[in-house]
């Protein structure tokens, strides 16, 4: 195992984050805080409780998950896309590193940033909304596994993308709608039966439901299903990345 390489890639990516702290950390924390102010404090006080939880508190897991998904994807996608764009990818491809080590460095850094961001958002939310965490260990597990899974997904997007527009295509056109329709702002039990059935095909719904369970001990679907969904997403992404490195697709001609 080339630990030095993993360390350097990780360090390189983390230093990029701290160099662009406004864009990487401050901006998503601020935009998510606005949701807490508007939906938590202002509108939330006029909306009834859901499953016995105040609306302001109910939306916290969904909002954290929304930021977590988009930032995990963006961080990892941008991390591997930049060397491709600038041409410095030659160094990575010619170095004595395995696919696993490259992924560990880039995805590890992207996931670390996302977890840091998620925790910062949770801390910020506490300023506006009162909430408790029923299962703190599971909450951290869900946070870390989701960040890892979607960083892997973002890494794939970065490998696939050949222009900056494609980097944003899936986060904006696929992930954002799935998050909004996956119960970030409501419980799917509030939907008509047909839409409840349709929502079951939305993988993000399982993540939000599981994460919300770790806070309030209530969920839209079984917690085992939620956990399985995250693990399945992670395994699928790992398999696809392994195939990409094995075949050299989009990396080696």
């Amino acid at each position: 195992m080339n630990w030095h390489a993993i360390r350097q890639i990780y360090r390189f990516e983390m230093s990029r984050t701290f160099r662009t702290v406004t864009q990487s950390i401050a901006s998503p924390v601020l935009s998510t805080s606005l949701y807490f102010v508007v939906f938590g404090s202002a509108i939330g006080s006029r909306v009834g409780a859901i499953d016995g939880i105040s609306y302001g508190a109910f939306i916290i897991p969904g909002l954290v998950m929304m930021s977590l998904l988009s930032e995990s994807i963006s961080n990892a996608a941008f991390g591997i896309y930049m060397p491709k764009w600038s041409g410095t990818i030659f160094e990575l491809l010619s170095a004595p590193v395995s696919a696993f080590e490259v992924v560990a460095g880039y995805v590890g850094a992207a996931a670390t940033k996302s977890v840091m961001l998620g925790l910062l958002i949770l801390a910020t939310a506490r300023l506006f909304v009162d909430y408790q965490i029923a299962h703190p260990v599971m909450m951290v597990c869900f946070l870390a596994l989701t960040a890892l899974s979607f960083s892997l997904f973002g890494f794939m997007i970065g490998l696939w993308a050949d222009d900056f527009q494609k980097l944003q295509l899936i986060p904006l056109m696929v992930i954002a709608p799935l998050t909004f329709l996956g119960g970030a702002f409501y419980s799917i039990k509030m939907l008509p039966p047909l839409w409840q059935q349709i929502s079951l095909f939305n993988p993000v719904m399982y993540l939000i439901s599981g994460f919300r369970w770790s806070f309030f001990d209530v969920s839209d679907v079984n917690i085992v299903l939620s956990f399985s969904a995250i693990v399945a997403t992670m395994l699928l992404c790992l398999t696809l990345i392994w195939l990409i490195f094995k075949t050299g697709w989009k990396l080696k001609n």
Binding site: H4, I9, F12, E91, A95, P96
Partner: protein
């Protein structure tokens, strides 16, 4: 002694159908400077990229220091440093951060003393805290060399290392290459500047249309393909070569003021004395004479044209 690089029946055909390399066989000894010459699109960069692991070969085998570049890629790649043709750098990073990154990426533990020595050798030490985006093109080129040397490679690939750099930097780069060779580093150099290959290389390989058409010691090439010519600047122009000299390999210059005699410098008799004697007998006077040996550039152009 184990060769630094051994290539057997290497081919590469891109998805577009372009046959970039056709059954390349090549062995490069440890410690030599090998000049790889060829026109644009000849396959030089593809060959280097396959050895370094950037491009996947279609067939054939490549080993570096006895390690297969596919099966034993870690050991093989750890021996190689690559300076690419393009000025591809992490523009927002500092010089120090980028060379430290390269060393770690190639599996070497931190060694600030070595990095400092490399940067000093390349006159970059004063710029260690500067962001790469603030450096000149020549300095960026040196940063790429520093990155390639950061992990103390046994083999260094220099793909057009002096393209677009000024004469002073080019001379500096040549000096560095010589110092590296003195330390036992094997150097593979591709260049468009034939003067560079002539100056630096021990052996030359000429690649054209994906095929290695020639691999020889530089001295042998110059000897084998390099003709030597004697030019006699005449006192009075001639209308044509006199019939009495028709049996000699003589050419009259376009302005008819010079006779050019081609000879084999390694032959027992060059025929120069006999030529001068016959010119005297014919009353053809000359005011000056000089000899000229073919440059590598002339040999290269002739070789490419022939194939």
């Amino acid at each position: 002694m184990q060769p630094a690089i051994n290539i057997e029946a290497l081919t590469k055909t891109y998805r577009s159908g372009l046959e970039a390399l056709k059954a390349i066989d090549l062995t490069i000894a440890q410690g030599e400077i090998f000049g790889l010459l060829g026109p644009n699109g000849a396959g030089k960069t593809t060959l280097i990229s396959i050895i370094c692991g950037i491009v996947t070969p279609s067939s054939g085998r490549v080993s570096v220091g006895g390690c297969d570049v596919v099966a034993q890629y870690r050991a093989a790649r750890a021996k190689i440093g690559l300076v690419p043709q393009e000025l591809s750098t992490d523009t927002f990073e500092t010089v120090w951060a980028t060379v430290r990154f390269s060393r770690g990426l190639f599996g070497k533990p931190p060694n600030p003393a070595h990095l400092e020595a490399v940067l000093r050798d390349l006159s970059l030490w004063d710029k260690r805290d500067s962001k790469i985006m603030t450096l000149s093109g020549g300095m960026k080129r040196r940063v790429l060399v520093a990155k390639a040397l950061a992990h103390e490679p046994e083999i260094l690939f220099l793909d057009e290392p002096t393209a677009g750099v000024d004469v002073e930097l080019r001379r500096g780069m040549w000096g560095l290459v010589r110092r590296l060779r003195d330390r036992g580093v094997t150097i593979i150099l591709t260049t468009h500047y034939l003067e560079e290959a002539e100056e630096m290389a021990d052996r030359i390989g000429v690649i054209n249309k994906g095929q290695l058409i020639l691999v020889e010691d530089k001295a042998t090439i110059m000897q084998r393909f390099g003709a030597k010519q004697l030019t006699l600047h005449l006192m009075h122009p001639l209308d044509a070569i006199p019939a009495a000299l028709a049996d000699l390999p003589l050419v009259l210059s376009e302005d008819r003021h010079a006779l050019i005699y081609t000879f084999d410098q390694h032959a027992e008799r060059t025929g120069i004395a006999a030529l001068l004697q016959r010119l005297r007998e014919l009353g053809i006077g000359y005011r000056d004479l000089h000899t000229h040996e073919s440059s590598l550039e002339e040999i290269f152009v002739d070789l490419i044209r022939e194939r």
